[in-house]
């Protein structure tokens, strides 16, 4: 159950989504990927994509305009 982080601060859509899609391939089932974002549309499209893939997703608002999208690979 490893934990990975992906820093997407300061990156506009659709880069956070593209990076998360690429990174999740390195994970084993049960591993967790935490994506740091500060672009509000990524707060919508990253969780939507992850849920559509069947992963467990939680979004944590860490500060004004900053979120952690926590994805547990299915």
């Amino acid at each position: 159950m490893a934990e990975y982080e992906l820093d997407c601060m300061g990156e506009a859509c659709p880069l956070p989504l593209m990076k998360a899609e690429k990174k999740i391939k390195d994970l084993a089932s049960g591993d967790v990927l935490i994506v740091h974002i500060d672009h509000s549309c990524a707060m919508k499209n990253v969780p939507e994509w992850a849920r559509s893939q069947g992963h467990n997703v939680e979004v944590d608002e860490v500060d004004d305009g900053e979120w952690d999208v926590i994805i547990e690979k299915a």
Binding site: M9, M18, K22, M43
Partner: protein, 182 residues
Amino acid sequence: MKKVWENISKNRYYKMVFKNPFTYITGAVLLSITQIALFAYSGNPWGVSGTLANWGAWIYELFGGSVEKWYYFSSSGAQATLNAGILNHSGTMLNVGIVGGALLATLLASQFKWKKIKSVKQIVAAVLGGLLMGYGARLAGGCNIGALFSGIASLSLSGWVFAVFLLAGAWIGSKLLAKFFM
């Protein structure tokens, strides 16, 4: 006082209207209603990028230039708009409203943040992309609002033609994005 704000931030209607993003359907319905209202009120369909060309002309005139002989501004209508000045330009008010409204929305949701520029690459891409989009929008006679959204809303075939080429451009753009930023 802090307690009051905390209560507001937990309020279900505050969350629904200001905090959580609207669904695509809600957004589409609101956009449709407001663009009909705008069309009924002003007699013109909604557009964004044509105004930016006018801003360019006004800035050029500010520095003593003249665009009278430029083909793009040569019609009497375009000249009348330029001569009436920026304060009487409804498109300018709409664009300022977009920026002001976006700022207000992000403040109301407590999501305002100054973002860092990560690399020079981001600046180069933004400037090149902006120039290409602006130039392309003028050649096409509209952007994704004036030509696509208002075009399709007017039941014009041109809006759908625009959509096909916009998708082609977006596909090429996404390939470039993957090549230079991934």
